[in-house]
């Protein structure tokens, strides 16, 4: 057997990103099996993983995990390059930008729940804009904004609480060095 000339040695960070992305992808696929009353209203459980990664490992890794999840999740669900994929991608990008800003809010006052709700609003905001500009060029798409906003509050709150709980359990088990979650 010819030895490969290219040697890729994954770093600990690579492995961590892959592990977290895998968990997020599992949640995305599992969530696709849940019947939902309205297209576009989803719990977004995979974002719990993004929240945890953001708090424990920082923004850069959260971006990796989130975008890998969008890409691989859409491939698994047969949505790659379909309209739904671009909606997910735009939502994820907007959420990441907002998370990057929100993580600098004073941690004494604003925790994962705040991050989660703000990111959920960024998510629906970006999706509505993309849908309006590209998929449904009519102001009628904004008609459902109240429903989406309510979903963002409810699911943002629930995901944020689960993320905060996971962070607490993880932190109690094995405090990461320089963990930004000091409480």
């Amino acid at each position: 057997m010819t030895p490969s000339t290219i040697e890729l040695t994954p770093t600990a960070e690579d492995r961590r990103i892959a592990r977290h992305a895998a968990a997020a992808i599992v949640l995305t696929v599992a969530e696709a099996a849940i019947p939902l009353p309205l297209p576009g209203v989803k719990p977004g459980l995979a974002n719990i993983v993004t929240l945890v990664v953001l708090a424990r490992w920082g923004w850069r890794e959260a971006v990796w995990v989130s975008l890998l999840r969008v890409l691989a999740g859409s491939l698994l669900l047969g949505q790659f390059l379909a309209p739904g994929f671009f909606l997910s991608l735009s939502g994820a990008l907007a959420s990441l930008v907002v998370l990057g800003l929100a993580m600098h809010l004073p941690a004494r006052w604003f925790g994962p729940v705040s991050h989660s709700i703000l990111a959920a609003f960024a998510h629906i905001g970006a999706q509505l804009v993309v849908a309006r500009l590209w998929l449904v060029p009519h102001d009628g798409v904004f008609y459902l904004t109240p429903v989406f906003a309510l979903a963002a509050v409810v699911f943002g709150l629930v995901n944020g609480l689960i993320g905060a709980r996971l962070l607490r359990e993880l932190y109690a088990k094995r405090p990461a060095a320089g963990d930004p979650m000091e409480r």
């Binding site: 729940v113 705040s114 509050v153 359990e169």
Partner: protein
């Protein structure tokens, strides 16, 4: 993991509550702004197919409209309007009561009188009977 409500509440920080409340306010505002269905700003009265009065809903007034059966009385109040009385046999337009949404219409067919509210964002493009 037990489901303990107080335990979960401990995960909320003060700012989180504010963010959640802010989110609900955005939601309420969107509901108010998008689902209100248009505040009416004026009323149009027609008799026999012709517009006989075009009034704003800012001040109170009563309009008497003659038709083939008699006089239909239309009452205008700030923000709403109704057919107060009509000589028609079935009184549908009177029983409709106050009209408050832009685009709403009361039609007294026997007397050939109609009252419709106009507004910037009407709920209906057109109505057909």
């Amino acid at each position: 993991m037990r489901l303990d409500l107080a335990d979960w509440r401990g995960l909320l920080r003060p700012g989180d509550v504010l963010v959640a409340i802010g989110g609900l306010l955005v939601c309420g505002y969107a509901l108010f702004a998008l689902w209100q269905g248009g505040v009416p700003d004026g009323a149009v009265v027609r008799a026999g197919g012709k517009v006989i009065a075009r009034v704003d809903l800012a001040r109170e007034r009563t309009i008497e409209v003659p038709g083939p059966l008699g006089v239909t009385v239309i009452e205008i109040r700030p923000g709403r309007a109704r057919v107060a009385s009509d000589p028609g046999p079935r009184q549908y337009c009177v029983r409709q009561g106050w009209l408050t949404q832009a685009g709403a219409v009361a039609i007294c067919a026997p007397n050939e009188v109609s009252l419709s509210l106009t507004g910037r964002a009407a709920d209906y493009d057109s109505l057909n009977y």
